[in-house]
Amino acid sequence: MKISFKMNGKPVSLDLDPSMRFIDVVRDVLHLNATKEGCGEGSCGACVVLMDGKSVNSCLLPVANAIGHEFVTLEGLRETKEFDVLQRAFAATGGQQCGFCTPGMIIAAYSLLKENAHPSDEEIRAKMSGNLCRCTGYQAIVEAVKLASKEGEGLW
């Protein structure tokens, strides 16, 4: 079936089985590997992409539901000003260790800040609780999002 959506600003039209997982479309068909699979059941958040600006678990989204929507993966996001602010903040606080959860964290942080430009620590923790990290203990990531909120004043 012809399935059309927008990916990183560009229209995409592919002949796909509609029941296909969006993460498999992203990684195997579009060869965008920044998005990772950690659990395949929506628990870890490593696979999140932006769907119309909001983070969603691509391992659970069927491509049938993607029709007509706009998606952004890290490959698209990393060219933006907002990414630059986030990236600097993560670097400053130490919010990245092994890096596997990092793409998902960036996407989730972006989604959060676009909805709430000045989140408190509690709000950051609550909103990002669907993204698991085993290396950092989370504190450096919370600090990174706070810092990005401050440094990106006006952008969010």
Binding site: C39, G94, Q96, F100, R134, Y138
Partner: protein
């Protein structure tokens, strides 16, 4: 950030934050095939027959009969077969692999294979010891005669799953010189190389291992990749095509190695004036079906069994038990979290029983420089543990809170643990077994390339090791490069384990850089290789377990504050304060990251993570069943380091990879005890266990 103004930008940061770093499942080769494992469904028995389905064109099956070399995974003790041959010893044991280019078809082939077993009675209890160690200090029996009372307690710890975000995976392929090469999620490239050489009957120059980006390991990828690496290598060699095996979460969670569960018994001899005259310690670890590295885990557990306390008379015995379950193996702490939990809880329970402030007991027995260790060696270096304790108590307002939270009706609690971790391999392992080497190569542009086999898995070692080199050479950090290890290019510096990367490999790099500096000629290509030589005063007898167990020790204090909910028996971890002596911090930002991460993983071990194993089968199937802390569970953490330079460390640095995990479980349990006013004897101190504790009178 002000705090990190002396920290270095991480070498691997940009590729990882931009999503450009390639992890194993991001890597593909033309003509690549996938491998799916046929696993035993029987806990113990003989394989009577294997009825394979008809294999379509392009699909293959490999098992024990296809192994070119020895059917054994090269580990510290090599008793784990690459493929089960004739018999199985745990549910999930690899019998063979199906190889082909469609994973769905591979799964169907595997699911339609019929294996017939002649079942035997499996062992799940602690009845068959297959590793036994024992040692003494002083004379426990003599001391018993002077004892006024004897206090005895038992403790229990459970499995723990590493739950790295990136599942295990490995690829075998042929490089540009048609050499068999493996890349995958690993900690120890040379372990994999030697394992493949052994199982595939290949020579040193016939196998290459290259590390890609690795998404966390925590010990879980120390030995396991040697097994799956051997399996895909066998297929790759037979087919002369790349073969990839990547696990999904269910397989990783239910079949890979975990932390050893333990049962410990502690007996203390109490003297006239409340002295601890002696300790009798019995440690039992569940090793699963094969020994692997369990002997070393037991050693570490026993060496750490009296924790930081110097007790004159000790009677220490430990066993690892064979059970027909997935073999247990390395996990951050490697035996010491089990006994440090027990010892910390025990000394606090003793204090309670004697009506003494635990601090009084602790201050009396914590080690000082020159003291005799548990294994009758010596603490050769300065110990600042008391300073660490005082600083942590000050940071947390500990003493006031202890009093306040002791008031009836208060559901808050605060607890403090003190602990040590021996850095490096036990005893003379570094000098005699590992003999680690590093290499520095300076090119004509005076750019320095650093070579070591230390795998970057999130702990930032690429950055810290490079920093040691450039600090020593007095050159800017941009003038050096450190890539992920490639066994064709780098010497074997030893495994990335045992908290040895900074204390041993870092120290090697400092020495190497010093030598290079001495011979430095601008504009000329030069290289220098440094081989590890340990401090000559370290003597260790592995058979008697006597002497200096480690070249150096790192020390720490964790204070944890909790709130207990009497309606649901749930615990909220509110805040933590930690102080550490790691010699000297190489990079503050990286060190705080290790401290935060290790602490949270240790807290998970102590109160949250519950791995269930029933009749040889792990019941937790995914990250929704095996609960690790989320953002909301994680407390606010404060960390401070106090310098205490180690004479054999790079700029005085020791190790810290495991230190920050080993004290967390007792700290949170002591905090819970402070909140509920009752003793805990086992972890995880989850709500179901706390409900039991609250329901029963002590």
């Amino acid at each position: 950030m002000e705090r990190y103004k002396t920290s270095t930008p991480k070498v691997d940061f940009l590729p990882k934050v931009r999503g450009e770093a390639k992890f194993t499942d991001d890597i593909s080769f033309p003509d690549m095939l996938f491998a799916v494992t046929l696993r035993s469904t029987c806990s113990r028995g003989k394989i009577k027959s294997i009825k394979l389905p008809e294999l379509p064109e392009g699909y293959y099956y490999f098992g024990a009969k296809d192994i070119p070399g020895e059917n054994v995974v090269n580990i510290i003790f090599s008793d784990w077969p690459v493929f089960a041959d004739g018999r199985v010893n745990f549910i999930g044991e690899s019998i063979g692999i199906f190889v082909g280019n469609n994973k769905e078809i591979l799964e169907k082939l595997r699911d339609s294979t019929i294996v017939e077993y002649e079942e035997e009675t499996p062992v799940f209890d602690f009845s068959e010891s297959y590793i036994h160690k024992a040692f003494t200090k002083g004379n426990y029996e003599e001391a018993k005669k002077k004892a006024k009372q004897v206090i005895k307690e038992s403790f229990e710890t459970n499995y723990q799953e590493q739950a790295y975000l990136e599942n295990q995976g490995i690829i075998a392929y042929f490089d540009e010189h048609d050499k068999l090469t493996l890349t995958g999620s690993m900690q120890c490239p040379f372990y994999i190389k030697r394992a493949v050489m052994r199982s595939c009957a290949l020579k040193d120059n016939e196998v290459r291992v290259v590390q890609p980006a690795v998404g966390g390991a925590f010990g879980g990828k120390e030995h396991y990749p040697s097994m799956i690496g051997s399996q895909v290598a066998i297929a790759a060699i037979k087919l002369h095509r790349p073969v990839k095996m990547c696990f999904e979460r269910l397989e990783d969670m239910t079949y890979t190695t975990k932390r050893h569960p333990s049962k410990t018994e502690y007996e203390a001899l109490i003297g006239e004036n409340n002295e601890i005259l002696g300790l009798k310690i019995r440690v039992k670890l569940n090793g699963g079906a094969y020994k692997g590295c369990s002997g070393v885990v037991l050693s570490r557990a026993l060496i750490a069994s009296a924790n930081v306390y110097v007790i004159e008379n000790l009677d220490v015995v430990g066993d690892v038990y064979m059970t027909n379950t997935t073999p247990t193996a390395a996990f951050r702490g490697f035996g010491s979290p089990q006994t440090i939990f027990a010892m910390e809880m025990f000394i606090h329970h003793i204090a309670k029983k004697l009506g003494v402030d635990p601090l009084v007991l602790q201050y009396k027995y914590i080690a000082k420089k020159g003291d005799v260790t548990t294994n009758s060696g010596h603490f050769h270096d300065d110990i600042i543990l008391k300073e660490l304790m005082e600083k942590a108590m000050e940071m947390s307002d500990y003493k006031r809170k202890v009093k306040e939270y002791a008031k009836p009706g208060c559901n808050k609690g605060i607890g403090m643990s003190v602990f040590l971790h021996g850095c490096g391999f036990t005893g003379s392992g570094e000098s005699e077994i590992i003999n680690g080497k590093v290499k520095l190569v300076k090119d004509e542009n005076d750019h320095v390339y650093c070579y070591a086999s230390s795998a970057e898995m999130g702990q930032g070692n690429e950055t810290t090791l490079k920093r040691i080199v450039t600090n020593t050479l007095g050159i800017p950090i941009e003038q050096a490069t450190m890539n992920y290890p490639d066994t064709d290019l780098t010497p074997d510096s030893g495994p990335t384990a045992a908290s040895r990367t900074i204390i041993i490999v870092g120290f090697l790099f400092e020495k190497c850089a010093k030598h290079l500096k001495e011979i430095w000629k601008p504009g000329v290509r030069q290289e220098y290789v440094e081989t590890y030589v340990g401090p000559e005063y370290i003597h260790w007898d592995e058979n008697t377990m006597q002497g200096d167990a480690y070249p150096g020790y790192a020390w720490g204090v964790n204070i944890v504050e909790v709130e207990f909910d009497p309606v649901t028996y749930q615990v909220s971890v509110l805040n933590t304060w930690s102080t550490y002596d790691v010699g000297r911090v190489v990079d503050e930002r990286i060190a705080v990251g290790q401290a935060d991460g290790g602490l949270l993983q240790g807290l998970g071990y102590g109160y949250l993570e519950t791995m269930k194993c029933e009749n040889g089968r792990f019941k937790n199937r995914n990250l929704s069943d095996y609960i690790i802390p989320t953002f909301e569970d994680a407390p606010h953490m404060e960390t401070a380091f106090i310098d205490n330079p180690f004479p054999y460390g790079a700029n005085g640095a020791k190790g810290m990879g495991e230190l920050t995990l080993v004290g967390a479980a007792p700290a949170v349990c002591l905090a819970i005890e402070s909140a509920i006013g009752k003793n805990l004897q086992k972890i995880p101190a989850n709500p179901e266990y706390l409900m039991e504790v609250m329901k029963h009178e002590n």
